[in-house]
């Protein structure tokens, strides 16, 4: 291919542009893998570091490898590398998601470790091979540059353009790709660039010299890619369904991965900060029965949407069925505890609007300053029919003013003082969020509390408790964040720290009636399992066993699973009201669905103890985070 005979050397430009494009594509694949993993395994820093490390290592190996191959015909080798990258690049994110589906299914069967091993034994080889392929590209391109002009400078120029390409890719990824498309879509898009390069090499560099097999492969891969692009929304929905409904899939590998048209579509919205998913029907049979026992919500409005869940970046935030068990405690418990209705209230987060709806029940609250970072989520809460119905159009109230900004920075800079500060933020499962539970942040919170005022935050991970022992005592599970919160809040200098749980009574007569009345909550796979038992007597025996299990699960759900942790904070040491009082000065009082005097008393906890001495090793700081406490290697699951 070299042009040694011609008087004028051929232009280097095509090869340089190639170096730039290929480098950009490669780094985007790498970041796609890192992002997909950090959304599934919930620690951005670790996953980005690990993927970059593995990718760099594999690139090194690929570079050695490329010295061995392609000496004869670099263009032909590059063509094949591009075809391989097209295939593997477009499959990277789907492979990671499929691996996660397998993990989700296995951890549900209590095979966590095996599931983790399956997950990583799929994920890392994919990233590794991607790195090797990428590593072979650069030396090939440098050799091609050298063929055009036989001087070191030509190869170095190609190297320089390759580095520039990495930079372009690394900028495009967070600024354009993450904010505008699903990761699978992005993978297909980048893969099609690799494919175009392959086609270009075939047509303009190899011409007739391309082998029949290469030509056929390019055509076949192009056809597959085109089909995938046309059906992209189906593909995205397919993987979303595996994520959210894995426990409703049929048994076996085939059942887990066969498409399910009967499941509702997941409504996905994207913002600069997160993907927002509204998911319907995750536990369809559960809510009506449960709500009938504990809440009067369905009596008043039988058409209330009870089975919608809101997820941010795949992590559950709230669900419309049981949200009052959460929000009535969150809003009212601290006010009753403090014995006084606040006038000026600050709400951080809570973009669904449910908490603000509860606060608006007090005529005494004159203004609610609401801070959220994500305008898209607020927009959704104002316009989505389901969310708007559940939050009672709270954000349109004259008493609410929403400011779109970073709550951390707002509290750091503000000179305003509030009678009550409500902090309703996602659980700290990554360092970005851990900052909002840091000692520094709580110092700003404390400073912004007006005399006599309070702050409260939801701490769902403090409800991770072991089963009740004989004497009724319970231990904190390793994933319980209370030890971190306790020391961090103590370090921040709060005089009053009161953890509490939203708690329902388990001896409610209605609960037993529901359990007696129906074969409660057998899953489709359990029913199938029963059908397969031939002998009627054995089938009945098995059915009772399964029922007993699901009853136990229901009891557990009401007593333990629904426990939702909160922490009440005041700067000074304070006398608190241990009795339930309705503090709203209007005829119907607070108009509550679930919270009452008995449940109020049940909600004080003796499992969580505020430490006397601060252990500096447990304090969560932006300088040295002690959150998240969940092990980094353990993937999270949809629901």
């Amino acid at each position: 291919m070299s042009e040694t005979g011609s008087p004028e050397p051929r232009s280097l430009v095509p090869v340089l542009v190639l170096a730039l494009i290929l480098a950009a594509c490669s780094i985007i694949y790498e970041l796609l893998a890192a992002q997909a993993l950090s959304l599934l395994a919930a620690n951005t820093v670790i996953w980005y570091s690990l993927v970059v490390g593995v990718f760099l290592g594999a690139m090194g190996i690929g570079a050695f490898f490329s010295e061995k191959v392609g000496q004869q015909s670099p263009w032909r080798t590059l063509l094949r590398v591009e075809i391989a990258l097209t295939v593997l690049g477009s499959l990277t994110v789907p492979a990671i998601k499929a691996a996660h589906t397998l993990y989700s299914e296995m951890q549900m069967g209590n095979e966590v470790i095996a599931g983790v091993m399956v997950f990583y034994s799929i994920v890392f080889p994919v990233v590794f091979i991607l790195g090797i392929l990428t590593g072979t590209e650069l030396p090939l391109v440098m050799r091609l540059a050298r063929e055009i002009r036989d001087e070191t400078r030509a190869a170095n120029l190609a190297l320089g353009w390759d580095y520039l390409g990495s930079l372009v890719g690394a900028m495009l990824f967070p600024l354009v790709i993450v904010t505008s498309m699903d990761l699978i879509t992005a993978g297909l898009l980048i893969a099609s660039i690799n494919l175009l390069v392959a086609i270009w090499i075939w047509l303009f560099r190899l011409g007739g010299a391309a082998s029949i097999i290469d030509q056929f492969t390019v055509a076949a891969v192009a056809a597959c890619l085109l089909i995938a692009m046309v059906n992209i929304s189906v593909i995205n929905q397919y993987f979303l369904q595996r994520y959210y409904y894995y426990h409703r899939m049929d048994d076996g590998l085939a059942g887990l991965f066969s498409p399910r048209a009967d499941l509702p579509e997941i409504r996905r919205t994207r913002s600069a900060y997160q993907v927002i998913d509204l998911v319907e029907g995750i536990e369809p049979s559960f809510y009506a029965d449960f709500l009938a026992v504990y809440s009067n919500k369905l009596d008043r409005d039988p058409n209330f949407p009870v089975d919608q869940k809101l997820f941010l970046n795949g992590a559950l935030q709230t669900d419309t069925g049981l949200e009052e068990v959460y929000h009535e405690w969150f809003a009212h418990f601290p006010i009753i505890l403090n014995g006084e209705v606040p006038r000026r209230v600050l709400v951080l987060g809570g973009g669904d609007g449910f908490l603000v709806r509860e606060l608006l029940k007090y005529p005494g609250i004159s203004d609610i300053q609401h801070i959220d970072i994500d305008p898209v989520l607020i927009g959704l809460a104002k316009t989505d029919p389901v969310l708007k119905q559940v939050n009672d159009d709270a954000f349109s109230s004259e008493r609410v003013s929403t400011v779109i900004t970073d709550g951390y920075q707002y509290l750091r800079r503000t000179a305003e003082r509030y009678d009550a500060i409500y902090i309703d933020l996602p659980v700290p499962n990554n360092y970005d969020l851990a900052k909002l539970y840091s000692r520094e942040f709580y110092e700003f919170v404390k400073r912004a509390i007006a005399p006599g005022g309070f702050a409260v935050f939801d701490s769902s991970q403090t409800s991770a408790l072991s089963e009740r022992a004989e004497d009724g005592s319970r231990e904190l599970l390793p994933r319980n964040t209370w030890p971190v919160f306790g020391h961090t809040l103590k370090r921040a200098g709060f005089g009053t720290i009161v953890p509490f749980y939203s708690t329902l009574e388990t001896d409610h007569p209605g609960l037993q009636r529901v359990i007696d009345r129906k074969g409660f909550n057998l899953t489709t796979s359990q029913l199938k399992q029963l059908e397969e038992i031939r002998s009627p007597a054995r089938r009945e025996l098995e059915r009772r066993k399964l029922l007993a299990q699901s009853h136990a699960r229901l009891k557990l759900l009401t007593s333990d699973y629904l426990l939702q942790g909160f922490v009440f904070l005041a700067p000074d040491a304070r006398e608190l009201a241990r009795e339930f009082v309705d503090l709203a000065e209007q005829r119907n009082g607070l108009d509550l669905h679930v919270l009452n005097a008995r449940r109020y008393e049940l909600s004080f906890t003796d499992y969580l103890v505020v430490p006397e001495q601060v252990d500096p090793g447990k304090v969560n700081s932006i300088m040295r985070p002690t959150l998240p406490v969940t092990p980094w290697w353990r993937p999270m699951t949809g629901y």
Binding site: N43, Y48, G53, G57, F64, M171, E440, E443
Partner: protein, 236 residues
């Protein structure tokens, strides 16, 4: 010097060890800056992607900048580079933190941090050709040193994510890593003299020694200094 002649055909283990440590230090600096940006300005994904992209890019620029003048005097060049890297690495986090304390606008903080990322990247990119040049007569020097460089970067990323950041914290990590860098900066020229007839700059050795001493003093008192920093930050 017969011993030297015997091992001439291999890149020696100590040199590979130094390469490993330098790659390790550089990637830790970069991740520290990415994490500091993310701690002060938010959006981890953006910070990490841009940091990694800028690092690779500026390393490439550094490699391209390694011209004959620099390569002709590898010992002096390495001495200078390690002084600069230990200094920049050690100063990086405290500097960004200080700018944030001054209530400076976010763009200023962002520019300074990204400049640090680029400069550290360029200096690191210069390092590799120099280390290769030290043993240029060995046939596989380039691939051995590059390979160890990758391994150092990988170990650095993992160590940062699993140990440095959650256990030591950003401040102590910056000082600790810079100390390693300064130590290598002292030992490497002495070691390289086995292969190169070049002279070592005494003033630069003294500067590097002082840097190492200061870093060690800071490291021994890091919790006091960090505490004072946090108290300034929260406005006490």
């Amino acid at each position: 010097m017969y011993a030297v002649a015997e091992e001439n055909q291999q890149v020696s283990l100590p040199l590979l060890g130094f390469t490993f440590l330098l790659a390790f230090c550089s990637i830790v600096y970069e991740l520290l800056l990415g994490q500091t940006l993310s701690a002060f300005l938010g959006n981890t994904v953006l910070r990490y992607s841009v940091t990694i992209g800028l690092y690779m890019f500026s390393m490439g620029i550094g490699a391209l900048l390694a011209g004959e003048r620099i390569l002709a005097r590898p010992v002096l060049s390495l001495q200078f580079l390690e002084i600069a890297l230990a200094l920049l690495g050690g100063v990086s986090v405290p500097l960004v933190f200080f700018i944030d304390l001054l209530d400076a606008p976010a763009w200023l903080l962002s520019i300074v941090a990204h400049l640090l990322i680029i400069v550290i990247g360029v200096l690191t990119g210069l390092e590799i050709p120099l280390l290769i040049e030290v043993r240029a007569e060995v046939k596989n020097a380039a691939s051995r040193i590059l390979g160890v460089d990758y391994i150092g970067a990988f170990v650095g990323t993992v160590a940062f994510a699993l140990w440095f950041y959650p256990k030591l914290g950003i401040f102590a990590t910056a000082i600790f890593t810079a100390s390693i860098n300064a130590l290598v900066g002292l030992l490497l020229p002495l070691y390289v003299r086995r292969y190169q007839e070049a002279s070592i700059s005494q003033p630069m050795m003294i500067v590097q020694g002082i840097i190492l001493l200061v870093l060690l003093v800071v490291l021994l008192n890091y919790s006091t200094i960090e505490e004072a920093g946090i108290e300034l930050y929260i406005g006490k």
